[in-house]
């Protein structure tokens, strides 16, 4: 009895809501269903931008492949394994150049990462507030200096210093190692490594600092409340931040591999493989920057484009490896 009286009331009110709250179906509704027009545009537009990035990568890879077709057909895989780079004879083997790129970047990381982590720990865990702000600013300022300025500084300050002080010192005390033999030119692998280390320092340290800061304060307090010293609580924070710091390192590596101007100004620009850090070397980016103006023959140009393709693929591999490492580490932690 009561039910039958209430039931129609509810239905009535429902009908009313339908009539007033939703606009009558017009053109828009017919085309887009129940979509909100603003959201529809927003979603499709952002999707378009995302797809655009993807297309750009594919297009660049394709263009480089097409551009280097002549060289690829002639040299094939020997482009990667042959160590003679001789434009006069039209023989192009990129091994010394690839070697120079990887070794200079890797050694720069070895020097830069411990320093960067130290800087990040100081900024995030130790520094008092009044010092932290200006110091952070200076570190970020280093990232903003144009690479050609680093190169100029390298030529006029770093290289003479290496020639007169560092290399004689190293060959005197560590000369029994093959890494520290030969004539002290100044220009060479050592100068490139040092300048790269300085150049990737700001990016690795400022990202690591942000990662350390993002570790919740409760983690530090948990450790301290158990009687941890400041160093012990920092170790806990570092463990939490491990995957992020690894990501920062990989970004630094990416920058080092692609760095062109400063490196080419100090590395000596000779495509040779030598164990000695004193000897000149060459990197892919600097070969391209130095030689594209001289690339008058079709084959030469094609070989340079193939070099660019190798650099492109190497960068993709580095980034993919970074992502994989970060993922696997996060999975191991079972968090985030």
């Amino acid at each position: 009895m009561i039910n039958s009286e209430i039931q129609p009331d509810i239905e009535n009110s429902r009908v009313e809501i339908n009539n007033t709250a939703v606009r009558p179906p017009g053109f828009f509704k017919k085309v887009f269903g129940t979509y909100n027009l603003g959201d529809f545009i927003f979603e499709r537009l952002t999707l378009l931008f995302a797809v655009l990035v993807f297309l750009l990568v594919i297009l660049m890879g394709y263009e480089m492949y097409v551009g280097s077709k002549i060289s690829i057909d002639k040299f094939g895989w020997s482009f990667l394994t042959n160590s003679v780079w001789d434009p006069v004879q039209e023989i192009y083997g990129a091994l010394p150049i690839i070697y120079g790129t990887i070794v200079s970047s890797f050694l720069a990381l070895v020097i830069s990462v411990p320093l960067s982590i130290g800087i990040a720990i100081f900024l995030s865990e130790v520094s008092p507030g009044w010092l932290e702000k200006p110091l952070s600013f200076l570190v970020e300022l280093l990232a903003g200096i144009p690479s050609v300025v680093y190169g100029l500084w390298g030529i006029f300050v770093l290289v003479p210093w290496i020639r007169t002080d560092v290399e004689p010192f190293l060959s005197e005390h560590l000369g029994f190692l093959p890494f520290f033999r030969g004539a002290p030119y100044g220009f060479g692998m050592l100068a490139a490594v040092l300048i790269l280390a300085i150049m990737i320092l700001p990016i690795v340290s400022s990202i690591s600092r942000d990662i350390l800061r993002s570790v919740p304060q409760s983690q530090r307090e948990a450790a301290l409340a158990l009687g941890a010293t400041r160093w012990q609580s920092t170790k806990i924070v570092l463990k939490d931040a491990k995957s992020g710091i690894l990501g920062a390192t990989m970004l630094g590596l990416g920058r080092a591999v692609g760095e062109t101007m400063a490196v080419t100004m100090v590395i000596g620009n000779r495509a040779v493989i030598s164990p000695s850090l004193f000897d000149p070397s060459y990197t892919m980016a600097s070969v391209i920057a130095n030689e594209f103006t001289e690339a008058t023959s079709e084959m030469y140009l094609s070989a340079l484009i193939q070099l660019a393709l190798v650099l492109f693929v190497l960068t993709i591999i580095i980034n993919a490896m970074a992502k994989l490492l970060v993922w696997s580490m996060e999975r191991k932690l079972g968090t985030r």
Partner: protein
């Protein structure tokens, strides 16, 4: 009354801002003292003064805090925090560590490395925290893959493993569901046989249930401190009465 902690004329500051004003309070041994009061009254700050965590966030204090007659304000804070363990509002186990390593963390900070020494202490602490039966088969699992209530008991076990004299609890159940809350409350009841407990709580029923003594803080001052039954049935101060009857706060 056998006094464990004796606080005299304690002032606490954040910069120039005075957040605790002239607090003097005696905390008896093997009892539970609840600290109640509205938000911002300084109750958490008071707790954090007791194990010198207040200074971690840049605060300063004046006055004295005596534990068994020894002045904490003149000792190494690292040593103090081993004697006065702390359980936080939100469970904060170490995500990079297994359940076992979470409990062993405090001992490892003290330099205990031998697993043969650690294992029985970890087991005992987890049993004391009423968590052993739930986790004994997966001690190597991550400390964050268990429920929130279990995580909080893990944090209590972690605190107990260092063998503190006092346990400070900062709203230990406020982030938990009712069942986990009642488990924590039972645990507090068990723990007071061996430990002196100071618990900050927003929940007045909880204060009434678990504590022997209650202190009412308001605007950085200690308004009233007495037996819990007295505070909740016949408080001397009008402000206290208004707060415990729910007229403000």
């Amino acid at each position: 009354m056998d006094t464990k902690i004796s606080v005299k004329n304690l002032d606490a500051f954040y910069g120039k801002n005075k957040v605790l004003k002239n607090i003097s309070i005696d905390i008896p041994r093997n009892k539970v003292v609840a600290i109640i009061g509205p938000s911002g009254c300084g109750k958490s700050t008071f707790l954090r003064c007791l194990n010198r965590m207040h200074e971690v966030v840049g605060g300063t204090i004046t006055g004295s805090i005596l534990v068994d007659g020894e002045d904490l304000t003149k000792t190494d804070p690292v040593l103090i925090r081993k004697r006065l363990g702390m359980v936080f509002q939100k469970p904060n186990p170490f995500p990079t560590m297994s359940i076992f390593n979470n409990v062993a963390a405090g001992l490892r900070f003290n330099g205990v490395r031998n697993k043969k020494v650690l294992a029985p202490i970890v087991e005992k602490s987890l049993k004391q925290a009423a968590l052993w039966d739930e986790v004994k088969d997966n001690l190597e699992d991550s400390g964050v893959n268990i429920s929130g209530g279990q995580q909080q008991r893990l944090c209590i076990a972690r605190t107990l493993a260092v063998d503190p004299e006092v346990i400070l609890m900062d709203e230990p159940a406020s982030a938990l569901d009712p069942i986990s809350t009642s488990k924590i409350e039972e645990l507090i009841f068990e723990l007071k046989k061996n430990y002196t407990i100071v618990i900050v709580t927003h929940n007045m029923q909880q204060a009434a249930r678990v504590s022997d003594f209650t202190a009412f803080f308001y605007m950085g001052e200690l308004i009233e401190y007495d037996k819990t039954t007295k505070i909740f049935t016949n408080p001397a101060n009008k402000k206290t009465e208004e707060y415990v009857t729910g007229r403000f706060g």
